[in-house]
Symmetry: C2
Subunit: 112 residues, 2 copies
């Protein structure tokens, strides 16, 4: 099995994980994983991250119920970023939004 390179970045053993909705393909959030949270993700089939602000494991949905069932995991060309497609049990964002990406800076697609 291909293994993420948690050590390459010099970021405390953390690499970014981009989480998408397996059905809509929408990008839901980005969070960070270390080797152990990645192992927990593989073992449980749900996303586990490392919270940089709280410095602790973060089982997504453990308190909110909005867990994310892992459907696929893909590594990028240099194995330092994860792309994880999930089936979400609820909103990805702590604000209650479906996706964390709701602050539009610019949108040229609407000008057409």
């Amino acid at each position: 099995m291909l293994k993420p390179d948690f050590e390459k970045n010099g970021q405390d053993g953390l690499i970014p994980a981009v989480v998408t909705d397996v059905d809509s393909k929408e990008v839901l959030m980005l969070a960070y994983m270390n080797a152990e949270s990645y192992q927990k993700t593989l073992a449980t089939g749900e996303t586990w991250f490392w919270s940089r602000s709280r410095q602790e494991f973060w089982h997504k949905g453990a308190t909110s119920g909005n867990t994310q069932r892992v459907e696929s995991i893909t590594l990028d060309c240099d194995a330092d970023t994860l792309l994880i497609a999930v089936k979400p049990a609820g909103p990805a964002c702590h604000t209650g939004a479906r996706t964390c990406f709701f602050n539009t800076v610019l949108d040229k697609t609407k000008e057409k």
Copy 2:
């Protein structure tokens, strides 16, 4: 205009930028931006990153021709990750692949 928080992360003023294809919605790559590369991106309408390995600005496609025309920019809930939808002039990956995410670790969607 909403502004990314380049200082929050303690990552040398860098934040991750997730790049998607505006048409297919596919995630193409993840790279890092600092405040100046973000300004270059806004000013030119093409993606500019900061290369952590080379420690220099990286105008995507400057040598390969595979530039990325910016169609939309969205910030996440805490303004420390960028989501950039682009119209790519060619493959995103230096390997020639359309997307950098081609290393499948697991795929449950194919088991169904």
